[in-house]
Structure formats: structure tokens, C-alpha cells
Amino acid sequence: MTKGRLVGLEGSFAIAEAVRMANVDVISAYPITPQTHIVERLAEMIADGVLDAEFICVESEHSAMSACVGASAAGARVFTCSASQGLELMHEVLYIPSSMRLPVVAVAANRALSAPLSVWCDHSDAMAIRDIGWIQVFAENNQQALDLQVCAYRTAEDKEVLFPAMVHIDGFYLSHVIEGVMLPDEEEVAHFIPDYRHPFVLDPENPVSMGCYGPPFIYPEAKKAQEVDFQSTKPKIQEIWNEFGETFGRYYLPVETYRMEDARSALLTMGSSGETAMLAVDELRREGKEVGLIRLRLWRPFPFKELREAVKDLELLVVLDRALSFGMGGPVCSEVKSALYDKRKDLNIVGFIAGLGGRDITIEAFKHMVDRARARVKAVEPGEEIEPEMIGVRE
């Protein structure tokens, strides 16, 4: 049974509540739409004395992430959040905590990238940071935003993990929408995220060198160690999600499915559009079509095994991308194809790109994707490439 006290919270405030309950030591952030409410709320909490943390005001997102790296190296529990251009401005620093194994925790309120200037949601910013080496998860609603944020601290700081973690919440769709959220008990959260101590901290009494120069004789070894350790975090992530489920009654999986029983076709989504897709699946089921839904909850490290298991009985997989990799198509579809290529060459995978720059993806749009995918599969010879397609675009 799901535990907590039911309150109405927008996604930004749900994140702020999770950060407060995690009792962070240092917050450093620069405001950017649609992330602003998160930092405004946290600044209020500190001013009101309900959160005892240092808020470092900085001149840019590059500095925000740099301050988090420094604070985390000193052993502090830290938080930052950003979106779109801000996330891009901190891009080069994002690789530092993952390589130095500092458990920085951040939120991205996903937003399109310029130009044209857009403050609205898509996953362009998330896709631009696929390779930063952080644990990355996508929330579907405000409850998940809170829960996954709590789990992010516990996971990042686990001594078998020690990697930074980022929770993606769709800008506006989650960040600015008020939903019913079960607010967990503070003490239970505190118990779930105990104090931690990094094996190496900045300490004048026990000096060490961090972030050293890595000449060719050591750099590949450093990267191999990082990749092996990062891949090995998967069982721990699941273990912590299971423990969260046992404590708070809400369970999460790297790959979550909906109405996949007897399904021959399925949609695949990330983020808030999964809820719209569920309604589309309900309607398709009522029409007698055996369609299910797969949602990628864990994006990095990529859940290869779980995805292969989820698609094992499928003939058609329809992948939604809320971002465009110019000259290549949809990045999620491309990764899904590559994850399944070795084992499932017979599966038809059809990618659609929709919802760019805040264009709504409706129930009808998902139903259209399924029909359109079937028609496209019929129109080609078996094994022939089906190019990704942008839909919902005026001619």
C-alpha cells in the first residue's frame, strides 16, 4: 500500500520537498524556466529556516555545477537543477562528478533547445547529455518525481555506486502542474537516506589529490574502471528501488510495462507522455487491438536486459522520440534498435518524432502512431529499413 500524506503539489515543489527531506547541505543553482520554481521554493525553505543548507548564488550554470562538484568533494550532500540552455552551459562540468565519482544529485526540467527560442518541453536537453556518465531516470508524474529524487540520493551515495544521479522531469507538464502526491514521512525518508561518508573527501588532515592530470599511460585505465563500475550499478539501483517500495509502497523498475498481456504491438515512451500513452492503449484495447506500452524509467545505465525481456513477444515496437538528432532521426529509437539488434532482428521497430518544443502529444496522436507504424511495416519488404518520421507537423 502506498504510504504518505496526500497533498497537492506541482512537480517543482515535489522535487523541493524531496530535497528538503534529504536534508541537503549545499544547493547551488541558476534560475531558468521551467526549473525556476524548484530553486525558488528551496530558497524560501532556507529563508524560513525549515531547511538548514547553504544556498550558493552563482552567475551561471557552469558555476552552479562547479560549486556542487567542490561541495561534494568536501563531503557535502548537494543539489542543483537546470534545463535546456542552462544544462548545455554546464555541459563540460557534468562529466567531472561522474569521472571523480562524486554523488551530486540534480534535476533537469526538460526543455527544448534554441533556436528558435523555446521554453517548452521536449527532450533535446536530455539527449545532449546522454553520455555524461550520470545515473539518469525519467519521471512520469509528480509522485515519481519525488520518489525518484529520494532514491537518487540513496543510490548516488551508496558505497557500491558513488556516481552522480539526475532525475528528468518534463518541463511544465510536470514542473508546473499540480497533482496529488503522497508526501512521505520525513523521518522515514531520513532513515532511508542515512548520512554517508565518501572514501575520499577534501580534508586538510588527510590530503589527497582529486581530478588529477591523466596522461596517456593512465587515462584508458581510468575510463575502463569508470565504465565497469557504472554498468555494475544496475543491480544496486533496482535493490534500492525495491527497498523504497517495501518502505513507502511504491515500486519502480528500469523498464515499466502497461497492459502488455498478449500484446503483439507496443508503444515505447519516456517521461510524462507515458500517461497519455496509457490512455491511448486503453482506447486501443477497447477497440480490440492488442497494444501495450513500455516506459523507460532508467535511461542510464541503459537497461538492455529488461528491455529485451519486455519486447520478447512483440512483432511491432513503436518508439516515440521527443527530440531530434539531426541527420540521424530519433536518439531513443536509435538506442532501442541498437540494444535489440543482436537478439531481435525480426522485430519491426518504427520511430516517430513528436512533441518538439512543447507541442502536445495527444491520445489520438499515439493511436495514429500505431496505425501508421503498421501501415509502414506493410509497405516495405521484411528487413527493409523504416526511416524515422516526424509526425504532427503541418505541410
Binding site: 584508458p220 585505465e221 574502471a225
Partner: protein, 98 residues
């Protein structure tokens, strides 16, 4: 740096170097193609070479002259460029060996 090179399993987490100040054993002098050679008869002991050296590898000797620690000197030539009295000449390492 010396000794056996470590395999990836032997590195500390995050490639932390638990021994502080280990850059001191890194022989940057290996990069050098030219070495600074001094003619102290022209030196006025102003210390400009000492101030400008980006590797901080110049030190003052007992008589107040300056000398370069070649273990660290990369041969960048900034000291020679900045010296107001032309004390320092950059000499190609190979030429000197001939």
C-alpha cells in the same frame, strides 16, 4: 610515476591519488627541446626569471643568483624572453649533446 604501471582494477575510486603532492615526481623536463643556459656575469639578481617561470622551477642560490631545476623545466623560454639583461640563452638539447 615510477615502478609498475597500474591496471584499471588497481586505481582508487575516481582516480584519486591518495598521496598528496605527487606531481612533484612527474618529470616535466622530458618535454624539453631547448634548455636555458645562463651567463651569470650579466645577471643583476632582479629575480624576474623566478617570478615569470610558469612551472616555478627556478630557485635562488646562496649567492643570490638563480638556477633552473631541469627535472621540471619544460624549456618554454619565458625566462629568456623576460630577462632584461639577456642572461639566459635557450640552447637546443641535441646541439648541446654534439
Amino acid at each position: 610515476m615510477g615502478g609498475e604501471k597500474k591496471g584499471w582494477r588497481e586505481l582508487e575510486i575516481g582516480c584519486v591519488v591518495p598521496e598528496p603532492g605527487s606531481a612533484a615526481v612527474y618529470k616535466k623536463g622530458d618535454w624539453r627541446s631547448e634548455r636555458p643556459v645562463r651567463d651569470n656575469t650579466k645577471c643583476i639578481k632582479c629575480g624576474i626569471c623566478y617570478i615569470y617561470c610558469p612551472d616555478a622551477c627556478i630557485r635562488e642560490d646562496a649567492e643570490g643568483y638563480f638556477e633552473t631545476e631541469l627535472y621540471y623545466c619544460t624549456g618554454c623560454g619565458i625566462c629568456a624572453h623576460e630577462c632584461p639583461r639577456g642572461v639566459i640563452t635557450m640552447v637546443e638539447e641535441e646541439q648541446e649533446e654534439e
